[in-house]
């Protein structure tokens, strides 16, 4: 059987990789993909915990996280397209009009 602790460790590694991606990249699209990495790591932790406890509630939570991820992808990509129309670039360092 796969121990729950190994699932959690792999999930933590994947989450941190996504976090590092958000922090070091400047391309809005790649930052977005890194957010997807973090969401998937959280899903993995949910499913691993559900398996460890022998209940299905964790899988339901992973299911809802997927729904939110789909909604987030649609809105976020629309924002990136709007940003690109305005600035001809997806560099997040350049998009600082709201900063005084």
């Amino acid at each position: 059987m796969i121990p729950t602790s190994s699932v959690m460790i792999v999930s933590a590694i994947l989450f941190v990789l996504g976090l590092v991606g958000v922090l070091i990249r400047r391309n809005a699209l790649v930052i977005f993909m890194s957010i997807e990495l973090m969401l998937n790591a959280a899903n993995l932790a949910f499913v691993g915990a559900a398996r460890g406890l022998g209940s299905m509630d964790g899988q339901l939570f992973a299911f809802f996280v997927m729904t939110v991820a789909a909604a987030e992808a649609a809105v976020g990509l629309a924002i990136i397209i709007a940003l690109f129309r305005k600035r001809r670039s997806t560099d997040v360092d350049g998009a600082s009009q709201l900063k005084w």
Binding site: P3, S6, I24, R25, R26, N43
Partner: protein, 169 residues
Amino acid sequence: MSGRELAFWADAIIAIMTALVVILHRNPVVSALSLVAHLCSVAVFFLLLDATFLFAVQIILYAGAIMVLFLFVVMLVDPAGEGVAGRIGRAQMAITLGGSLVLLLAMGRGAAAMTAGSPAAADLPAGYGGIKSLGRLLFTEYLFPFEVASILLLVAMIGALYMGRREAD
């Protein structure tokens, strides 16, 4: 070490490698394609953890629908790729990696506390992870979150249409 555990660690290596390519490659198209591979490896994790329905949903919804959307936008906005990593200072990089490592160790330590034995496959309730038991739970105990999710999707759809419309000038 059982065969399932061996498959788990092999898949973990694939998942971590593809995640590294996603965050480090300078071409966003390669990042997106590597993300597809990563999502498939996470689907295999779900299969190994007896979540058969989530395995199917992960492939269809994530690796299918969401990634098509991603690739479409990557192709639409200049695929040559700007904003390459490497323009950041060394100090910033060191702080990021050091902080992440501390976070990772803390999480690993917390996970090590959860070493209680998980039930064997034979001890799981019948139909565990299948569409029938998941659907029953979804429409009884989790009916309210389910309805809220439908409203969320509607709002997201309207928001995406509004954000993506052409500027009237």
